[in-house]
């Protein structure tokens, strides 16, 4: 169905290993343990949904996995690299190479065209203009937007914007695609299209982690973990595969 060669992870490679990961926020004398000891193993080409009520710690877990935040306790290996001891500069590199973010608010740069938006991570990877163009065009092709490369975000629908964001997440060939409520700002038809795209990306070999509180989103995933009070309270396979 998808014909592309952005190389996905092969199966049974350990992509994420969290061991007793903790994240404590200190405000004056009070502490809040947003993560209170999380253990998690994610293999290549898994399709994982992280669920939980608000305040359960799922955003913090996503930030830690996405290298935007560092744990205050425990260990984190991402694709064999020891993230929990990385410097700020190394974390930026890890975000650039290993993670492809998809946000609820799309987070495209308004003054840039779709193509330029997709190229941003490649700029920070230090790639030359010509190669950036080729890769970005290819990524836009995968999400079905090859005819929108020169449009600005303001000239596109919500679904198209999210597709640009997905192309931007794919373009560096990251170890994991990390999506935070990817359909939160979309109507139900468009949401379904985006989830179908995710299914296709999974089928093509990508590793996907989706943070959501919506069941129909989680139903697309093959594995669902539930968080509550900063702890994993359930970790199960979607037996029927939704």
């Amino acid at each position: 169905m998808l014909s592309h060669d952005i190389s996905p992870q092969s199966d049974s490679v350990e992509v994420i290993r969290l061991e007793d990961v903790r994240r404590r926020y200190t405000m004056g004398l009070t502490h809040v343990d947003a993560l209170a000891g999380v253990d998690l193993l994610v293999q290549g080409n898994e399709y994982l949904a992280i669920m939980g009520a608000s305040g359960s710690g799922k955003s913090t877990l996503m930030n830690v996995i996405g290298c935007l935040d560092t744990p205050t306790g425990g260990e984190y290996w991402l694709n064999g690299q020891h993230v929990s001891h990385m410097s700020d500069r190394e974390l930026a590199g890890a975000r650039n190479r290993e993670i492809g973010f998809v946000f609820q608010m799309f987070n495209l740069l308004p003054r840039h065209t779709a193509l330029a938006n997709v190229e941003v991570p490649l700029v920070y990877a230090g790639m030359k203009k010509k190669e950036r163009d080729e890769r970005a065009k290819h990524a836009l092709e995968i999400v079905g937007l090859s005819d929108r490369t020169m449009h600005r975000p303001s000239e596109m629908s919500g679904g198209q914007r999210q597709r640009v964001a997905i192309a931007r997440a794919l373009v560096t060939e990251p170890s994991i695609l990390l999506a935070d409520e990817p359909t939160g700002n979309l109507d139900s038809t468009t949401s379904r299209d985006i989830m179908v795209l995710f299914d296709d990306l999974h089928a093509a070999g990508h590793t996907l982690i989706v943070v959501t509180h919506e069941h129909y989103v989680a139903e697309h995933a093959k594995r669902v973990i539930w968080l509550s009070d900063g702890k994993v309270i359930s970790d199960s396979m979607n037996g029927a595969g939704a």
Binding site: L68, D69, N107, G126
Partner: protein, 402 residues
């Protein structure tokens, strides 16, 4: 590669806020223009003085009667005589030339035109010592001096004042104090010294002035040219020794004459001009700093406005260094554009000042380069703090920023 991309983003953002950017740049434009203009004025004044220095020729000491006070009022007492000049010119190796001058203002008449002119009675070596050249005709000679000839040499502007020209007036007579004098030469224009203009003086032989016009042996000034193998200090001591002897001044009594080093006088003026230039440039520099603060202000606003963009860029792999560089390049670009426009404005203002106010102004490549460097420095200095703030934003907070 990354730097061209950074520059592209900076230009994109500047273009996105063109009006605000132009207003901000105005501060830098005015600052740089002010620095350029003030330095141009100062350099011009400096150059004018340098030219005067060159016009003065070698080291010349000027001996004058010192003023004395009677009941609190300064009175001139004529103490210098032609005999003093003669005594100075005999047998000293410290002086290359001694030029006595009798200065008076007399009514001069040519045809039916009357002018009140500064008339200098002096010796034939005057043009050499004071660096004058003859434009038309000749200066008076030793023979004229010996014969007390009634001949006169005119300053460059005199023929025009008599509504004629240099060639036409030579050989004609003018009346000085009703005594007819034949015009034998016209000097080259020398330009004013500021406190006086030698181009509207006239010159007659010393002996003629003494015996036919004033009737006494006093002179106002004796100029002494210091010999090349001597020094100003030694020449001053020699003058003092000779004149104290001639004037029979008792040891311990004050001199009744004063010796002025004109070069020193010009040098002190030069120093004053230099201080003035620094002062002007300093004030102009303050406006450049104010412009820089405007840049910092707008960069802080830009960073706040683009907090979310910073968050996105960080999430996509931008390091602190990338973000810092991006905002720094933006403020430097702003300042350099402002610097170029300011340079053009300053150069225009300088040439307008020269044209309409008649002040000599000089825009040097040095001052242009300095203004350019200054505006870049302002961009870095006032851009670094906002850029640092941008770089240190927490990506999670920045992404949440509305």
């Amino acid at each position: 590669m990354l730097i061209t991309e950074t520059l592209r983003i900076a230009l994109l953002s500047i273009r996105g806020n063109i009006f605000r950017t132009a207003l901000t740049m105005l501060g830098i434009i005015i600052g740089v223009a002010a620095v350029i203009t003030m330095v141009a004025l100062g350099t011009g004044a400096q150059r004018a003085i340098d030219e005067q220095m060159a016009a003065l020729g070698g080291d010349i000491l000027s001996i004058q009667t010192s003023s004395w006070f009677s009941r609190g009022v300064a009175r001139d007492r004529q103490t210098l005589t032609t005999d003093d000049a003669a005594a100075l010119s005999i047998g000293t190796r410290h002086f290359a030339a001694v030029v006595p001058e009798i200065n008076n203002r007399y009514q001069a008449k040519y045809g039916n035109m009357n002018l009140n002119l500064s008339t200098i009675g002096t010796t034939p070596n005057y043009p050499d010592v004071h660096g004058f050249e003859i434009a038309n005709g000749r200066f008076f000679s030793a023979a004229d001096e010996a014969a007390r000839a009634r001949v006169v040499v005119l300053g460059a502007e005199i023929p025009a004042m008599f509504e004629t020209d240099a060639a036409a007036i030579i050989g004609r007579d003018i009346l000085i104090r009703s005594i007819p004098f034949t015009v034998i030469g016209v000097m080259n224009a020398k330009g004013s010294y500021g406190w006086r203009n030698p181009d509207d003086d006239i010159w007659i032989p010393l002996s003629t002035a003494q015996f036919r016009v004033t009737g006494d042996e006093h002179v106002e000034t004796i100029s002494v040219q210091v010999a090349e193998d001597s020094t100003v200090e030694l020449a001053m001591l020699e003058i003092e020794r000779v004149l104290r002897r001639e004037h029979k001044i008792q040891p311990g009594a004050d001199n009744d004459f004063s010796v002025i080093d004109r070069k020193q006088f010009v040098e002190s003026r030069q120093e004053a001009t230099e201080v003035f230039t620094y002062l002007l440039a300093g004030i102009a520099g303050v406006s450049l700093v104010v412009g820089g603060i405007g840049i910092m202000n707008i960069m802080l606003v830009t960073v706040t406005e683009r907090t979310r963009e910073i968050g996105i860029r960080k999430a996509l792999g931008a390091t602190r260094g990338n973000i810092l560089l991006q905002f720094l390049v933006e403020s430097i670009t702003l300042c350099l554009f402002g610097g170029i426009l300011g340079l053009l404005l300053g150069a225009t203002a300088s040439s307008l000042l020269a044209k309409f106010a008649g002040w000599q102004t000089v825009v040097t490549t040095d001052s242009a380069a300095a203004a350019f460097g200054f505006s870049a420095a302002v961009g870095i200095l006032f851009g670094i703090w906002p850029a640092k703030r941008a770089a240190q934003l927490d990506p999670i907070d920045a992404l949440r920023h509305e």
